[in-house]
Structure formats: structure tokens, C-alpha cells
């Protein structure tokens, strides 16, 4: 990055968005360059260097590009700009602000600033002249929407610095110098509210990354109760199309207990992003009473946008997440879908005529996925604060077959597995998370077990495992009943099956489109699970198996009415009493 003169080059080959450029100077891997096309500058990234030939992937359509056009290399990798004003914005995969672009259609070579550099912010210093600081330390704070946005020592700085001067409280533009730092060899660094960072390199600047230990509440029962996500944890949602991946992700983005949400819409449908644009400014975050959009940032690189930028979009999203984590905030990062990102890698690898791995994906796919997931996590910062990135990606397995490279590579690294099942989706049992195949490794963490016992109720883990067990036994007897017939098995089998159905209908299934049922606070989840388990452990008296089905249908129906009612409202209590009465009809004393 030190060269004074930038390298330039000439286009010598074009295969779709792979453009080969002959360079006249040094070129580095992943360096950004701009290729000229009749006055339009198109951004591209170097993905392979062979002698003086740089293979670049262009983030735009190359229609009309000719051999002999010129290119300029920028001397740095793909970077994002970090600073106040990221929240509530809609960016494309390269952090261009979609809202400030002109016209209805995306124009080639139109790059817009991520920020309004002239926007003024109320700055409060958090450090004073004379303080010794390193990269990532907090210098001051501005209010961005409702969060205290920390202005930090730029992450690119290496070594210790002394604050020579820092501005007092006041209103400054994002591009104003707010502090001057002096390095160990007396060099001076001017710090503004903005800094740049290359997206493919993780932002460090924390002390350590302990194992996640806190529950990340999502309001989705099958996650919180059965397969809890930990704050700073990782998870993934594979599922065939139509199994409700996107509805589940949207539910998470609306309800999860996070300070901010970053959504990377990576190669998915544009209308799904539009849904967020449209609804989030209206919807309220039940925890803070603020509009959901205030805590949401969208990185939209939908399936019809340039493929190469799709790959960049997940890194852009992760880098923004890391920036906010360094402020001590809880970030939830959602990527829909990581398979599209893998496919973008495959398309380029294919054009470069690399030897393919399984299903024509590049051989290093598992390594790329695992180092990406590793960027999430809970971190302790130098000043004692803690921040986290919880990452949940969706995977769209080809043909719904979970034995494909992207799913398998992801399964090795993600700690929570929310498998969506076609069968459950077909029978409209939503969210269609398979209760038997799915898991949360965090349930095995003593740290989290302790947290659950303390914050929900002592012995909570045993209750969860008990419910899982009942579900498993229910599935086993269901198969038996199917083989032997209703009257070929003891009544007890029917009871076992129907008890598992109670858990299924009342705990696992949840109506994402009902105002009340859509989100269940953990206290309510505790109450419902205990109640359901009580039913499961009650001995009932039946003279014949024919009476079992209608009886349990009644129980389920009343439970469902409870789920639809305001918690502990008059209706809720009425249904609970009704439930009690039904149980007593057949309860063995």
C-alpha cells in the first residue's frame, strides 16, 4: 500500500464477469481495481495473479467491454467505511447506499457514498489528552438513533498511541478531526469519526473470546426452549425451498434480543428485502418501543444483482457487525443464504477453470465457511465491556438433500443446527424445525446450563431433555402404530403418541402471523412447558383407543387458545381453568 505510483493495466480477456488484466506493476491478491468501459468505472477484485496477468472478478455486467480498455489498481483490498450513520441504512454488497442512487434501475458503475460526510453529530469525549490508547479504544461517543456509538482509535493503527488532543463535547461533522494521536515514534495521526477496514480481515482489538454463556432470546419457542441460541453463538438453518427459512429469519430479526440486527440478503429474492424495507420502519421493537428499522441495517445483494458482489456482501455485513461489537453491543447477524454465496464462489472458480471439488464447488469451500463463522463470538473488550456477534446463516441445500457440500461444511462449524423438514412444512407444522434432528450444542455448555437454571427456573435443562425424550418416543410409537394398526397396539402407545403431539402443537408449532403467538417471552415459555409436561406426566384412564384422539384434540385446542391469548389475561386464565377441567375428566387419581 506504500507505492506512490498506482499500478495500471490493460484488459486482455473477458469471460462474463471474469476479466483478465495485464498489469504494468505490482498487483496483490484481493486488490481492488477499476476497469474503464467507455467512461464508466467498474469495480473489480483481483482473485488470481499469474505472472503480470491479474484475473479480476468485476462487480458489474461486462456487456460491451473491449480488449484494450484500461484499468487502475487501487493498492488496497475491498474496504468498507465505518462510522456513525450505518444504522437504518440500506446498502448493497459493496456498501453503496441504495437510497441515494438515482433512478429506478441500478446503473453500472454508480457507486454512492455509504455516509453523508457532512452530517453533524453530538460528540462527547470518553478519553482525555495524555491517555495511552491502542486500536479499538473508545475516544468518544455520539448518539446514533438510540445507541451510544463509540468513536474508536482506528483499527488499522498498530502500537501504542498517546492522545495529544481531543475535542470537547460539541457538534462535529463525521469528517472533522476529533482527536490527534501521537505514536511511539512521534508521528501524528488525525482521527475523524470515520475509518476504513478491509472486509476480508477480521477486526480484532478485544482481549479474549470466552465461550458463549448467555441465552439469546428470540421469542421462537422451538429455538429458545428446545434448542437455545447463545449470545455470541453460531447457528444455521438448512431447508428445502418452501420450508419457511425466510419466515423464520424474519421472525428472528424482528424479535431477537439484540442491540442491532444486520441482515445480509445474499443472492435471495428482492421482494423479501422489500418486505423488510416496508415493514420494519412501521413495526415496533417490543423491548424498547422503538421502530425496528432503527436497529436494523440491510446489506442487500439480491439474486439479480451482480454475482461477484454477492460474495463481498457477507463480508461487508460481518465487518460492520465487528465494528459495532467493538462498542460493546450485542449484534445479531443474519445471512440469507450462505448457499448463494458459495454458488458465487463456484461460478468464479469455474470460470477460472480450477479443478472442482464435490458438486463443482471450489476445494477450499469448507475452509472459507469455517473462517467466516469463526468471526462471530462473544468478546471481552479492553475496557471491561463485552460485545457479541451472534451469527445465523441459512443454507439452501440442492434438492433438499443435507448431504451436499455447503450443508456439510457448515455443520462442522456452526453450533446450532435448525433443520427445516419438508414433511413438517407439508403438514403446515410451522416453524418446520425438525425437533429430533435439530440440536443446540450450547445445551451441553455448563456455563449456559447454569445461566438457564438461574434465569428461567432450576432444573430447566432436565425439563427440556424430558420434552425431547417424549417427542422421540412419540415418533417411535407413531411408526409402530403405522405398522401394526390402531388396534394392534396397546392403548398406552396411543397415549404416548398423543402426549408427544401436545408438545408438538403447543410448544413447537407457533403462528408467525398471529400478533400474540408470534413472539413468546421466556417467562411465558417456562409456564407453557411446565404445563405441557404436567399433562405428559399425568396418567389418564381410557377404555378404548378411539377416545384418545378426540380427547387430546380438545386438550390441544384449549392450549392453542391459550397461546393465542394475551399472557395471563382473563381469556388466558379462563382457558387454563378449562384445561384443568378437561384433564380432571380422565385423570387417574
Amino acid at each position: 500500500m506504500e507505492e506512490n505510483k498506482l499500478t495500471t493495466g490493460t484488459v486482455t480477456g473477458i469471460i462474463a464477469n471474469l476479466v483478465i488484466v495485464e498489469a504494468d506493476g505490482p498487483v496483490s491478491q484481493n486488490e481492488i481495481c477499476f476497469i474503464n468501459l467507455a467512461g464508466v468505472r467498474m469495480m473489480a477484485e483481483v482473485i488470481k495473479v499469474l505472472g503480470n496477468k491479474a484475473y479480476t472478478q468485476v462487480f458489474e455486467s461486462t456487456r460491451g467491454l473491449k480488449v484494450g480498455e484500461t484499468a487502475e489498481f487501487m493498492g488496497h483490498m475491498l474496504e468498507v467505511t465505518l462510522g456513525p450513520g450505518i444504522l437504518s441504512k440500506n446498502f448493497d454488497g459493496l456498501q453503496n447506499n441504495l437510497d441515494t442512487m438515482k433512478g429506478t434501475f441500478l446503473r453500472r458503475g454508480e457507486y454512492t457514498d455509504a455516509f453523508d460526510y457532512d452530517q453533524a453529530w453530538d460528540f462527547t469525549p470518553l478519553a482525555k489528552a495524555g491517555d495511552i490508547v491502542v486500536a479499538g479504544d473508545w475516544l468518544g461517543e455520539v448518539k446514533e438513533n438510540w445507541i451510544g456509538h463509540k468513536i474508536m482509535v482506528p483499527f488499522k493503527l498498530e502500537g501504542k498511541f498517546t492522545i495529544k488532543s481531543i475535542n470537547g463535547a460539541g457538534t462535529y461533522k463525521a469528517s472533522d478531526t476529533i482527536a490527534i494521536l501521537t505514536g511511539e515514534s512521534d508521528e501524528e495521526v488525525k482521527v475523524t469519526m470515520l475509518q476504513k477496514w478491509p472486509v476480508k480481515i477480521p477486526i480484532k482489538g478485544y482481549v479474549d473470546k470466552p465461550r458463549p454463556f448467555r441465552l439469546m432470546e428470540t421469542g421462537v419457542r422451538i429455538i429458545d426452549t428446545m434448542n437455545p441460541m447463545a449470545e455470541g453463538g453460531t447457528g444455521f438453518i438448512p431447508g428445502p425451498f418452501g420450508s419457511g427459512k425466510t419466515v423464520l429469519q424474519h421472525a428472528l430479526s424482528k424479535q431477537a434480543e439484540a442491540d442491532l440486527i444486520i441482515m445480509a440478503a445474499c443472492g435471495e429474492r428482492a421482494n423479501e428485502v422489500v418486505e423488510i424495507f416496508t415493514e420494519f420502519p412501521e413495526l415496533e421493537d417490543p423491548r424498547t418501543g422503538r421502530k425496528l428499522m432503527e436497529r436494523t441495517t440491510i446489506i442487500a445483494n439480491t439474486s439479480n444483482m451482480p454475482v461477484a458482489a454477492r460474495e463481498a456482501s457477507v463480508y461487508t455485513a460481518m465487518t460492520i457487525g465487528e465494528y459495532y461489537r467493538a462498542m460493546g453491543l450485542k449484534v445479531l447477524l443474519l445471512a440469507d443464504s450462505t448457499s448463494r454465496w458459495a454458488q458465487a464462489l463456484r461460478e468464479m472458480s469455474n470460470r477460472m477453470e480450477e479443478l472442482p471439488g464435490p458438486d463443482a464447488f471450489p476445494m477450499d469451500l469448507p475452509a472459507i465457511i469455517s473462517s467466516f463463522y469463526a468471526r462471530a463470538g462473544y468478546v471481552n473488550l479492553r475496557n471491561g465491556a463485552a460485545g457479541s456477534i451472534t451469527f445465523i446463516g441459512t443454507v439452501s441445500p440442492a434438492g433438499g438433500n443435507l448431504k451436499e457440500p455447503v450443508t456439510e461444511s457448515t455443520k462442522k462449524v456452526a453450533r446450532c443446527f435448525y433443520a427445516l423438514s419438508q414433511q413438517r412444512a407439508d403438514s403446515k407444522r410451522y416453524p418446520a424445525v425438525d425437533p429430533i434432528d435439530s440440536y443446540s450444542k450450547y445445551l451441553e455448555y455448563p456455563e449456559l446450563q447454569e445461566y438457564l437454571a438461574e434465569h428461567i427456573t432450576p432444573g430447566w435443562l432436565d425439563k427440556v431433555l424430558d420434552a425431547r425424550n417424549i417427542l422421540l418416543r412419540g415418533r417411535e410409537v407413531y411408526e409402530q402404530i403405522n405398522i401394526l394398526g390402531d388396534d394392534g397396539v396397546p392403548i398406552d402407545y396411543h397415549l404416548r403418541y398423543w402426549k408427544s403431539e401436545v408438545i408438538d402443537f403447543v410448544i413447537l408449532q407457533q403462528d408467525a402471523f398471529d400478533d400474540i403467538d408470534a413472539s413468546t417471552p421466556i417467562e411465558r415459555q417456562r409456564k407453557m412447558l411446565i404445563k405441557v409436561l404436567e399433562v405428559c406426566h399425568t396418567d389418564f384412564d381410557f377404555e378404548s383407543f378411539e377416545a384418545v384422539n378426540p380427547y387430546f384434540k380438545r386438550i390441544i385446542n384449549v392450549f392453542k387458545q391459550m397461546n393465542y391469548s394475551e399472557y395471563e389475561s382473563e381469556d388466558f386464565n379462563k382457558y387454563e381453568a378449562e384445561l384443568e377441567a378437561i384433564i380432571n375428566e380422565r385423570k387417574v387419581a
Binding site: I14, L106, R269, N271, T302, S303, D359
Partner: protein
């Protein structure tokens, strides 16, 4: 295709394969069109001074001294109101004997809409078919395919939907359409007196397969003209996208690309998405809705074509012959319209979502009962009732010959619930049960 100005003619063909030829040339733009001995071709690869051209109609009979003329332009279509009522081939040239269309020449396969400039689809499309309106409601700006085996009547259903949908323009993109089916569409639209609203771009089985690759972009360029420039509601029918994908695989194979799943090119997802994502609702009023057909082989939806399609489109519709009633129905289990949540219960009656789900759930119970019956087990009273319900539901609601409005569909569903089940078995929110449960 007229050529303007002085065009250099090249005659040094260095390589010929079944679909492509390479020549030495300079100053050529990527994606540019050319003619090779009069046949239309497009630049697909440039390496140094070697330009590879994909010849749409195939390379049969092309000699290595063929005359190659570059046009300097990517494929384009003349757009204006004159398009209405006309039939074109894959290149946008008239095949109905009429005059050439005058108007602005617009590049096909143009840029995509900025996602923040889209509007959330919000207008219900009523088709009168309960399998669609009740269970899988369509919305303007949506993209949805029929997944169907070749023997199913998808062309009839699609024509029916198109005519009932009250669109300002219906654009038919026919790829590998048999001549009989092409004439069928022409006749149906003619009989309905709708010919002036129809624009067709047709590649029949008689034309070379690679030409098909131009059809969706031609159709959608015309669609964008009417939807964006003229603010009209446009319905685009694409049939059959499986044949389109097959043409993609032919080309990628000829270009020595490494195939991924099912011999399809690795870029299949992006290639299909570029087409389907043209479906849009513009805030200024116009919209493009895409209804496509993806034929399956033996109902296999895990094949790369339907599989990638399913991830792109906003749902899919399955047709199935129900042997119990002897009619074709829209399969309630496998069909899905993702955008239905935007309109059901708001533009339709409030009980719509719950009635829809309850009916499908009970229909699923019937399917279980049927399995039991086939396995030779005794049925419970409940099983018997679900079977009776399924038959009525199939006949009165799911069959494609039903043509009633949504409120009538809901009333019918309640009637069937009341006839066969208790309130607890149906399990719908109490307030709706109180309001709509049939009183006897």
C-alpha cells in the same frame, strides 16, 4: 437486424464447435451481436484477439472462411405500443406477416431494479380457482411457476389464469413450444377477444434450441416497457423454462465449462434469477407478474432445474389428478404462494388464513387415513369423516374447474367443516368459530 455505418468483415474462423465459432478480431465488445454467414451470433468470450461467438441457430454448414460481421450492439428490441397484438420470433422479428415495429431500440437483459425502488406487492390477483385463490393466493409483482409433468394440463390452466387475471398486457414467452400448443394459445386468446392485449415471443420446437435463450429477455424487455414506461399491469407467461435451462446447458457444455449438479451449468441459479427477478411492483403503479412452467421428469423436484427455480420463485403450483373425484386439482400440500400472506385476511376476509390452514391440515389427516386404509387397517370414526371431507373439499374447492370468488370459497369451507367435524377438531380461533360456524 440492420447494420449501420462501416462494419469490418472478418473471415478468419479459427475454431468451430457445435454451437460456437472463434475468430480473430479486435475492438469487439463483450455480449455484442454479430452475424456469421447471415446467422445471428453473440460474443461469449474474448481472449486477446480471439473472439468466441455463440451461434444461435447452430453451426451446421458454417465453413472456416465464413463471413463474420459485428453489429457493435447487444441484442435489442424495438419497443412501442405497436407491440400489442403481435407475434414475434426469438429475435423480436414479426412472424405474423405484419410490418416491423417502430420505436425506441432497447437492449434486452438490461439492468435490475434497485431493491429500494420496488414496492411491496400488494394487489391480489383473482383467478376464481380455489386451489389458487384460497390456498395459494397470487399477488401482482409475484413470480411463480407451475411444476408439472408434461402430461398435465398446465397450458390450459395458465391460459385460464391469464385471461381471468385482468392484466393490461399478457406477454407470452414460448420456448420449445410445440406448434400445436402455440396455436392453442393463439386460439384461446383470440376466442376471448383478448388478442390486442397479447404479445408473443415464440420459439417453437421447429426452431433451433439455442435461440430460446433470447426469448425470456425479449418478453421481459417488452414487459418492462409497458409496466415501467406505461405503468400498466403486465402478466408474463414463460413456458417452458425447463427447455430454456436445457439450452443453457448445451451452450455451457460447448464452452467446456465444468458442469455442476444434473449436468447443469454452475451459474444456473443466477441465470434463472436474472429472469424471474424481473417480476416487480413499481411504486408508480405498473407491475410485472411472471407465471412460468417448469416441466418435471416424473414429478422429481430435486432435479437442478425445479430445485433452483423453487429457491428463486415466490412459491410453486402443482397440478395433480385426484382419482377419487376424477378431476385435476391444485395440490394443496406441495403448492405454495409465498406472497399470499400480504393479502389474505386483509384484502380477503379475516378468517381466510385460519380456514386455509385448518382445511389443509384436515386434508392431511385424510391422506394419513388413506394410507391406513391402503395398509389394510381399520379406520376410526374420525378417519372416515376426514375421508368424506377430503372428497368434498377436492371436488368443491380444489378442482380447477371451480370458478367462484374468495368469500364463496371461505363459506364453502366452513360449510364442509360443519358437515364433517366438531369445532375442537377444526381448531380455529374462537372468534371466527363464533362468527362463521354453520348454524343448523
Amino acid at each position: 437486424m440492420q447494420t449501420s455505418g462501416f462494419k469490418k468483415i472478418y473471415t478468419k474462423v479459427t475454431q468451430i464447435t457445435k454451437a460456437t465459432c472463434s475468430i480473430q478480431a479486435t475492438g469487439i465488445g463483450y455480449d455484442e451481436l454479430a452475424t456469421v454467414n447471415g446467422r445471428l451470433a453473440q460474443v461469449v468470450k474474448i481472449q486477446g484477439n480471439i473472439v468466441t461467438l455463440q451461434i444461435f441457430s447452430g453451426t451446421e454448414g458454417i465453413p472456416n472462411n465464413a463471413e463474420v460481421i459485428f453489429t457493435g450492439k447487444p441484442p435489442a428490441l424495438h419497443v412501442s405500443d405497436e407491440l400489442a397484438g403481435r407475434f414475434f420470433d426469438a429475435y423480436g422479428d414479426p412472424i405474423d406477416g405484419g410490418p416491423d415495429v417502430q420505436g425506441e431500440l432497447r437492449e434486452i437483459g438490461g439492468p435490475s431494479v434497485n431493491p429500494v425502488r420496488r414496492k411491496q406487492p400488494s394487489e391480489l390477483i383473482a383467478t376464481g380457482i380455489a386451489g389458487i385463490d384460497l390456498n395459494n393466493t397470487l399477488v401482482t409483482g409475484q413470480k411463480i411457476p407451475f411444476f408439472a409433468d408434461p402430461d398435465q394440463p398446465f397450458n390450459q390452466v395458465m391460459a385460464m389464469v391469464a385471461l381471468r387475471a385482468k392484466a393490461d398486457k399478457i406477454i407470452l414467452g414460448g420456448m420449445g413450444l410445440t406448434n400445436d400448443d402455440y396455436l392453442y394459445y393463439k386460439q384461446v386468446f383470440d376466442n376471448a377477444g383478448a388478442l390486442d392485449r397479447i404479445i408473443s415471443f415464440v420459439n417453437t420446437t421447429e426452431n433451433p434450441p439455442v435461440e430460446r435463450l433470447l426469448v425470456p429477455d425479449m418478453a421481459l424487455t417488452a414487459a418492462e416497457y409497458f409496466a415501467f414506461d406505461k405503468k400498466q399491469t403486465v402478466l408474463v407467461l414463460l413456458t417452458d423454462m425447463t427447455l430454456y435451462a436445457d439450452a443453457l446447458s448445451i451452450v455451457s457444455n460447448r464452452m467446456d465449462q465444468i458442469p455442476s449438479k444434473d449436468s447443469m451449468p454452475g451459474s444456473l441459479y443466477s441465470d434463472l434469477a436474472k429472469i424471474y427477478e424481473k417480476a416487480v411492483q413499481f411504486p408508480e403503479g405498473g407491475s410485472i407478474t411472471i407465471i412460468a412452467v417448469t416441466t418435471l421428469s416424473g414429478g422429481d423436484i430435486t432435479h437442478a432445474i425445479p430445485d433452483n427455480t423453487g429457491y428463486i420463485t415466490e412459491g410453486q403450483l402443482f397440478l395433480r389428478r385426484d382419482s377419487d373425484i376424477g378431476k385435476v386439482i391444485v395440490d394443496p400440500f406441495r403448492s405454495l404462494s409465498r406472497l399470499k400472506q400480504l393479502v389474505i385476511g386483509t384484502q380477503t376476509r379475516a378468517d381466510h388464513p385460519q380456514v386455509m390452514n385448518a382445511a389443509v391440515r384436515l386434508y392431511a389427516d385424510a391422506a394419513n387415513a388413506k394410507t391406513k386404509l391402503e395398509n389394510g387397517f381399520d379406520l376410526t370414526d374420525y378417519d372416515e369423516r376426514t375421508l368424506a371431507f377430503a372428497k368434498d373439499y377436492s371436488n368443491d374447492l380444489l378442482a380447477i374447474d371451480v370458478n367462484i370468488d374468495t368469500t364463496a370459497m371461505l363459506d364453502k369451507a366452513w360449510e364442509l367443516f360443519g358437515k364433517h367435524f366438531t369445532k375442537a377438531e377444526v381448531g380455529i380461533k374462537q372468534e371466527f368459530v363464533d362468527q362463521y360456524w354453520p348454524k343448523d
